[in-house]
């Protein structure tokens, strides 16, 4: 199911921080991981992913470095900073709280 852009917008930071909390990744890997983990429900567009990553980097939540990966190609790897790790946990708690509240409203008669 294609998810509305506006709905996805608020959750991009949470998703990116969560994916990066599992280990450092470069842009293409992040896209693939999001698609696989969500069983194809999420399909980040490249045009959304990179500005979002740069925004997180500017906020000091992720850091990046160019290095040669296992495939022998140079890629820009992103990883969480300690501030980013805390933010990931905080966003996750807020998200659980929000979805719980939304579900309660949607399920109420």
């Amino acid at each position: 199911m294609e998810i509305d852009r506006e709905l996805l917008k608020g959750s991009i930071s949470l998703l990116l921080l969560n994916l990066l909390s599992r280990g450092e990744m470069y842009g293409y890997e992040i896209l693939q991981a999001a698609t696989v983990r969500s069983a194809n429900a999420f399909e980040f567009k490249e045009g959304t992913l990179y500005p979002a990553l740069h925004q997180l980097e500017k906020r000091g939540l992720v850091r990046s470095q160019w290095r040669t990966g296992d495939n022998g190609r140079e890629r820009k790897y992103y990883s969480l900073t300690s501030k980013g790790r805390k933010a990931a946990q905080k966003y996750e708690r807020q998200w659980q709280h929000l979805t719980g509240a939304v579900n309660a409203v949607l399920g109420s008669k």
């Binding site: 567009k45 045009g47 990179y50 740069h54 140079e74």
Partner: protein
């Protein structure tokens, strides 16, 4: 050039990312992504045409992507542009002050008056301040207008800051107002008059008339006042060229 390259070019051209080094890095990152995407599609046996179509679809509208990048770097860009505005103002003010004051010194010398006394007078200092305010207004209207959505609001903040600074140091604030009007007039002439020679003529005529109107010289001093203001007009016209040149350099760099 492939369509993917064109797409990246289109994004980068409109993304307004400050600093060449960062632009190169973003371009490199997007290229690496395209390389991975194309490699993975080829492995799964897709045709080249199919891959290109998919890639364009995945990136989406390049203008929208560029706008998202522009939003990320908005703050940084604003700080850089404002810094450039201040530097341009100081540099152009110094150049024009030096030019105007040396022309006046030449005139004093020609009239047989004391050059040193004229240059060291309070009048020379206030004139330099007037030039600074004029340049700040002119450069502000040109460069801030290009980079900020609200150039007049930014100029108002700068002017208020100058007023506060002048008031605190006891310098005459009326020269800021006069400089502000001067700068706006020069920019107005540049926008309204297309031909360079006519611009020059209009700047000279307006400033010569302003000198006589504002300072009400006695009949014997009318010629000297008008001549002095014509020189100022020449210097200001020179300023519009120096400032426009700096603005073009700035626009290319940022």
């Amino acid at each position: 050039m492939t369509r993917a390259e064109r797409l990246i070019d289109e994004i980068m051209a409109a993304a307004r990312i400050p600093s060449e080094r960062r632009r190169q890095e973003v371009r490199r990152e997007l290229r690496a992504h395209v390389e991975d995407f194309v490699g993975s599609c080829r492995q799964s046996g897709r045709s080249e045409e199919d891959i290109e179509r998919l890639l364009l679809d995945r990136f989406g509208d390049p203008q929208q992507v560029a706008e998202q990048f522009a939003c990320v770097y908005h703050g940084e860009r604003a700080v850089l542009h404002f810094g450039w505005f201040l530097i341009s103002t100081v540099v152009v003010s110094l150049i024009i002050s030096a030019a105007a004051l040396s022309m006046q010194a030449g005139m004093m010398f020609g009239l047989g008056a004391s050059v040193l006394a004229a240059l060291g007078s309070r009048h020379a200092i206030t004139e330099a301040l007037d030039i600074a305010a004029t340049v700040a207004t002119y450069v502000g209207l040109v460069s801030l207008g290009r980079f900020f959505g609200y150039p007049l609001a930014v100029l108002a903040v700068v002017t208020a800051g100058l007023f506060a600074l002048f008031a605190a140091t006891g310098l005459p604030t009326q020269f800021i107002v006069f400089g502000f009007l001067n700068g706006a007039l020069l920019r107005g002439i540049q926008v309204a008059v297309r031909r360079r020679m006519l611009q020059f003529g209009a700047a000279l005529a307006c400033l010569g008339a302003l000198g006589i109107l504002f300072f009400h010289p006695s009949s014997s001093a009318v010629v000297v006042t008008a001549a002095s203001w014509l020189m100022m007009g020449t210097a200001y016209h020179l300023m519009t060229h120096v400032a426009s040149r700096m603005d073009r350099v700035l626009a290319a760099k940022l």
